[in-house]
């Protein structure tokens, strides 16, 4: 494990993100600010190895029943908490790395330490380089 300063708190406002890719490297990690909390995900989708962290951050639709005159109004929830891979659109919970469309799938997450103005991540170097 290696402790790496990945940026400054002020660099990533609420709803923002930063993707760290080593020189000539692949994959890397993405740092996200979701409602003031910071999260880090590996930038490889466990489905087809797409660059997950470059996907759209959004929420998801929800309803209790199939739509009808009296039922099933489609609502939208968790705005800003879910990322969708740009390849094939699988959704992941940014905070936990849990895939929302397959309970057996999870993307690797890394704890983030906020140390003053610094954002620090503990990474496994092989994940980080991932070549």
């Amino acid at each position: 494990m290696r402790r790496i300063v990945v940026g400054k708190v002020a660099e990533i406002p609420v709803g923002g993100r930063k993707i760290i890719v080593p020189f000539r490297g692949r994959a890397g990690i993405g740092i996200f600010n979701v409602n003031g909390s910071f999260y880090a995900l590996r930038n490889i989708c466990p489905h087809k190895r797409g660059p997950l962290c470059t996907g759209e951050v959004a929420g998801r639709s929800t309803t209790s029943a199939p739509p009808s005159l009296t039922d099933g109004f489609v609502d939208y929830e968790r705005e800003g908490e879910i990322i969708r891979c740009p390849w094939h659109a699988w959704q992941f919970d940014i905070a936990t790395g849990q895939c929302l469309v397959d309970p057996d799938v999870r993307v690797k997450t890394y704890p983030i330490i906020v140390d003053g103005d610094d954002l620090i991540v503990d990474v496994d170097v092989s994940d980080f380089i991932a070549e």
Partner: protein, 394 residues
């Protein structure tokens, strides 16, 4: 080429139809439980006027003026005159085929040791789904159901019925279901597979609700009519063989519609069997829907599970006509892909030319899969009670 009729008759002396031959996976032992359920046995009228006693005067006039008045639905499944020529009854001079219960008992139920036979009526009738007059469509269903009761039911405990309803006015279909649901031999509801709109559309939900209320599955048989629709997304094919290739498209579209529109979320006990449309279509449908649901499930948030889970719990597929892949091994692979021990139900399609007998339809299966396909999946699907089972295996 053409054999003279009297020679054909000679053949049948001493041998009417084929007898079961011992084959892998099949035993001719006396039943100690239900071993064979046939979910597609066609019973038929031989003349439209047989329905007259079951029609009100108003529709008797209609039938006498217009005949059955069924719209043409493209090619019928009638090459070689529809029915197996080997079971033409030489005792009947005035027509080719013996339409009686007794003949079916002898040629199918007794000969092949069938414990339950689900009556599925004449496929040409299913074109009533395209009748512009919804009352005539409903009257035909009611008359046919009452004719079936008088001529086919209450006589043999092995014979159970899928009551015919028309999709044209769903309220009338609901009424017919309520009228006949109390009969024990009503074990399913027959719905044409080709309907004016897809099964998932809300206009049909009252029919599915009535089925669910009475614990009756829908058995949907190939045929029917969807006015204004084309058999393919590219218009009309030229030849009969091509039209047979469109069957998986109908089944696939109806299954996708039922699942995607949330019918099984609304009616969690409801089941649908799709009959005489081949089988393999269900595999890529499950795979493709699961993949797409993972990507674009946000567009149908009322689906709480993978589409294949709805399929495996709620949709059944008939075994006839069974695929004949080049390698036997591929039959086993297909059965595994289909989850056949959950989804497949045996069908003969008696008495049609392309029927499947229970002996040669599949290669030897392990006992569990054999039991599921040939009996238990159907017993779980149809509203067959324990005392009905006792009556046939006693």
């Amino acid at each position: 080429m053409a054999q003279t009729p009297d020679k054909l008759q000679q053949i049948h002396i001493g041998k009417k139809g084929a007898a079961p031959i011992a084959a892998p996976g099949w035993t001719g032992k006396p039943a100690d439980r239900v071993k064979l359920v046939d979910c597609d046995v066609h019973h038929n009228i031989h003349d439209p006027e047989q329905l007259l006693p079951y029609l009100p005067k108003f529709y008797q006039e209609h039938l006498l003026d217009q005949g059955l008045h069924l719209p043409g639905s493209g090619y019928a499944n009638t090459p070689f005159r529809h029915t197996r020529p080997d079971i033409k009854d030489p005792a009947l001079k005035e027509r080719d085929f013996n339409f009686s219960l007794e003949f079916t008992q002898k040629e199918l139920l007794d000969r092949w040791n069938i414990n339950f036979a689900l009556l599925t009526g004449p496929p040409v009738f299913l074109a009533l789904a395209g009748l512009p007059d919804p009352d005539w469509a409903a009257a035909l269903c009611t008359a046919f159901n009452d004719w079936t009761i008088e001529h086919w039911l209450d006589k043999d405990p092995r014979v159970v019925n899928a009551i015919l309803v028309a999709p044209n006015d769903p309220a009338l279909a609901v009424k017919e279901i309520h009228r006949l649901a109390h009969r024990k031999d009503t074990v399913a509801v027959m719905m044409p597979m080709q309907t004016p709109q897809l099964f998932g559309k809300r206009m049909y939900h009252p029919i599915w609700e009535a089925c669910a209320e009475h614990d009756l599955p829908v058995v949907s048989h190939i045929g029917g009519l969807s006015p204004g629709s084309t058999p393919t997304p590219v218009g009309f094919p030229s030849y009969y063989m091509e039209s047979r290739m469109t069957r998986p498209s109908v089944a696939s579209a109806q299954a996708a519609s039922l699942i995607v529109e949330g019918v099984f979320e609304k009616f969690p006990s409801f089941k649908v069997a799709l009959i005489e449309v081949q089988q393999m279509w269900a595999v890529p449908l499950m795979w493709h829907m699961d993949t797409d649901w993972k990507a674009i499930g946000d567009q149908t948030p009322w689906l709480k599970r993978k589409p294949s889970e709805y399929f495996r719990e709620h949709i059944r597929v008939g075994t006839q006509p069974m695929h004949e892949p080049p390698q036997t091994e591929q039959v086993y692979q297909m059965l595994e892909m289909l989850h056949a021990d959950e989804t497949l139900i045996f069908c003969t399609d008696f008495p049609h030319f392309d029927w499947n007998d229970p002996v040669t339809v599949l290669p030897k299966l392990d006992e569990h899969t054999h039991r599921r396909i040939f009996a238990e999946n159907a017993l779980d699907l149809l509203r067959i009670t324990d005392d009905m089972i006792e009556a046939v295996v006693a």
